[in-house]
């Protein structure tokens, strides 16, 4: 592990997740979504970002968490991983901060097993909520997200 990681802390389904900045392209408030019928629950739809069509994904069901609502204050975090660009639905984007690697722990048994494959570490600061550091590669390469991909 590196000494410190720059992450953006977002809240998904009342749990704090951290996404490394290098994977984040952009953060924007919820745009107009075009729903896609007949797809799995994690696919919310698609939206137009400056001429590009980007899929909107809610990873909460993937992580075993309850589905998120698309309220007015929700944000979309546009991530690019291995050339795949998708928007992740987040309730709130808290801030951007640097996490000390000393406080990063390996995920242990009291972490939900659904979340486990998708996180790389757990950041626990004293008296604060633990922040699950998302492993974006495993998320983006997961079966659930690649269901409708071909070629």
């Amino acid at each position: 592990m590196q000494e410190e990681i720059k992450v953006s802390v977002i809240r998904i389904a009342q749990k704090l997740f951290a996404i490394e900045i290098k994977y984040i392209r952009e953060i924007l408030p919820l745009p107009k979504i075009t729903r896609v019928p007949n797809v799995d629950v994690q696919f919310y739809g698609v939206f137009n970002l400056r001429g590009k069509i980007i899929p909107l994904i809610d990873i909460a069901p993937v992580l075993g968490l309850p589905r998120q609502q698309t309220k007015a204050g929700t944000f979309v975090v546009v991530c690019e991983v291995n050339g795949k660009v998708s928007g992740l639905l987040a309730e709130k984007v808290l801030d951007m901060r640097v996490l000390e690697s000393e406080l990063m722990q390996v995920p242990d048994n009291d972490v939900d097993e659904n979340i486990l494959p998708f996180i790389s570490a757990v950041y626990k600061k004293a008296k604060k909520e633990p922040i699950y550091v998302l492993d974006m590669i495993s998320v983006f390469e997961s079966e659930e997200l690649n269901k409708y991909r071909f070629a």
Partner: protein, 597 residues
């Protein structure tokens, strides 16, 4: 044998017995007489011979001597006696033959000689026709005489001396009764025969009567059965007697049955009539709940009519009862009313007394009223002045109220403007907040880009950070502003509310003022009215005095009428009491009728 037949048989037997007996006796006597008569010719011959012999044997000269009266009868007797005795012996004349010599007289005969004793001489003897005949015809005659037990046959020989007939007769007599068989001896065979005949007769009678008895018993039995209303027996033998009667018995039985049926029917009818009588009696005593049973015959029709009659009567009596009850009620009411009337009249009289008193008091009051009226007029005037002053003050107060209301309206307007402005400020601060959040986002994106640019973007990331800080500060300030605006708005709203409340109070106050003004005006009016009234009163009191005098006169008249009314009430009361008595009687009379309700 039945009793009757037996008695008949007995009677017949007894009668027959006696008849037979009498016949036997008669036959006996007849036989007796026959025998006697048979004896007569036989003995006549004998006696005739004896007599003739005697005649021839007689010493005629002795007799002539007697005739001439030469010999006494006693001497004659002794002479003849011897002669006769000799004669008797000679010819063996039985002792039963008695010889006599009689002299024929005119109306009698005299015994010259009787061989029995001398004392018979010169005794009178019967004169028989045969004697005269014998004397006249010179022929012997005979005479048979039955006297008691003796049956004497006398043969009369005339005596002829020479050729001359003498008046002497020779009698040869014999009592034939000796020769006769005794009556019992005759009777015995005859009696036996008669008895035998009687027995035979009885037997025949018995045999004849037996079938008769049988028939009679049958008839008796049938009659008994008829009486007991049992069925008749069939005659099991051929009845020779009473066959018609027996034949008729059958008819009689059917007749009797008919009669029996009729009797039954009549008995039923009687029963029905009795029942009906019972019901009628009950009804007569006043029980109208009874109902006669209706049957199909004439009595049933009668019962039906009777029921109808009872029903009608019931209805009638019910009406009467009702009417009686109503009459009783009405009389009660009347009595009550009359009582009240009488009481009322008395009250009236008392009241009129009171009223007269009151009238006098009224007069006094009138004069008092007059004084009071004047005082009232004066007070009214003072009140009027006070009221006018009061209304002026109120006018002023109202004006002040209006002024307050105008100023309040003004301040309200200003406050509303304030409210609007603060709302506008709020809007703007919201806008600023949004801008700052956007800026924040932008800063975030910028830092992301900077991170992605790596080393080259370090300076940029600093700038991005600064922008973010700025945005945050702006955000904070905007929030503060927003909060302040909120507070201002809250105060403004409160102020507005208070002002409105004050406005409402002012409105109320004005209202009250108006009300007060109205009230004062009314007071003014009333005062005027009152002072007018006071003047009227003083005038009126003068009239009142006049009227009160008239009232007193009328009251006295009323008292008189009340007294009359009381008298009339008393009379009516008496009449009503009589009416009540009558209605009680009526009720009592009707009470005894029990009706089926």
């Amino acid at each position: 044998m039945s009793n009757d037949i037996r008695s008949l048989f007995t009677k017949i037997s007894v009668t027959a017995f006696f008849l037979f007996l009498m016949a036997a006796v008669a036959v006996t006597f007849w036989q007796f007489n026959k025998e006697q008569e048979r004896l007569i010719p036989c003995k006549y011959n004998e006696l005739s011979l004896i007599g003739t012999a005697y005649v021839q044997n007689l010493p005629l000269d002795t007799l002539m001597a007697v005739e001439k009266g030469q010999l006494s009868p006693a001497e004659l007797f002794t002479a003849l006696q011897k002669h006769t005795r000799q004669f008797r012996l000679k010819y063996e004349i039985p002792q039963t033959v008695n010889l006599k010599i009689l002299r024929l007289k005119d109306s009698e005969s005299e015994i010259i000689f009787d061989e029995r004793s001398p004392k018979f001489a010169a005794k009178a003897y019967d004169l028989w026709l045969e004697m005269s005949e014998a004397y006249k015809t010179d022929r012997e005659t005979w005479h048979f005489e039955k006297r008691g037990q003796t049956a004497r046959l006398s043969v009369i020989h005339p005596l002829k001396v020479g050729q001359k007939m003498t008046r002497l007769l020779i009698l040869s007599e014999e009592d034939l009764s000796g020769y006769q068989a005794s009556l019992p001896a005759i009777f015995l065979p005859i009696g036996v025969v008669a008895l035998g005949a009687f027995v035979l007769f009885d037997l025949i009678l018995f045999l004849l009567l037996r079938p008769l008895n049988r028939s009679f018993k049958f008839v008796l039995e049938s009659l008994t059965r008829l009486r007991d209303n049992r069925s008749l027996l069939k005659p099991e033998f051929t009845n020779r007697y009473f066959s018609d009667a027996i034949y008729l018995l059958g008819d009689l039985q059917s007749r009797l049955e008919t009669v029996h049926d009729i009797e039954k029917v009549r008995a039923e009818e009687q029963q029905q009539i009795k029942e009906f009588l019972r019901i009628v009696t009950a009804a007569a005593e006043g029980d109208f709940t009874v109902k006669a049973s209706v049957t199909a015959d004439a009595l049933g029709a009668l019962s039906d009519s009777f029921n109808l009659m009872i029903d009608d009567l019931s209805v009638l009596i019910r009406d009467v009862k009702k009417a009686a009850g109503q009459v009783a009620e009405s009389t009660e009411n009347i009595l009550g009313n009359i009582e009240e009337m009488a009481k009322g009249a008395v009250d009236q009289a008392a009241q009129t007394e009171n009223i007269t008193e009151l009238a006098r008091e009224m007069n006094e009051l009138i004069s008092d009223t007059n004084e009071s009226a004047q005082k009232a007029a004066q007070s009214a005037q003072e009140a009027r002045e006070a009221a006018t002053r009061g209304s002026e003050i109120i006018e002023k107060a109202i004006n002040v109220m209006y002024a307050i209301r105008d100023s309040v309206r003004e301040s309200m307007k200003q406050v509303r403007i304030l409210d609007e402005n603060s709302a506008r400020i709020g809007e703007i601060s919201d806008f600023i907040a949004e801008i700052s959040s956007r800026t924040n986002l932008l800063a975030l994106n910028a830092s992301i880009e900077a991170a992605r640019a790596g080393d080259a973007g370090k300076g940029f990331s600093v700038v991005a950070d600064e922008i973010r800080n700025l945005a945050e500060r702006t955000n904070t300030s905007a929030e503060e502003i927003s909060k302040l605006i909120e507070d201002i708005q809250k105060s403004v709203t409160l102020t507005l509310r208070n002002i409105e409340k004050g406005n409402r109070e002012v409105g109320k106050g004005t209202h009250l003022m108006d009300g007060a003004g109205e009230a004062l005006r009314e007071i003014l009016e009333k005062v005027k009215v009152s002072s007018d009234s006071a003047t009227n009163i003083s005038e009126a009191t003068k009239d009142q005095t006049k009227f009160s005098r008239q009232i007193t006169i009328s009251l006295e008249e009323i008292a008189g009428i009340a007294r009359e009314t009381a008298d009339h009430a008393q009379q009516s009361k008496e009449a009503a009491a009589r009416l009540e008595a009558l209605s009680l009687e009526l009720n009592r009379a009707v009470e005894k009728f029990k009706l089926s309700n």
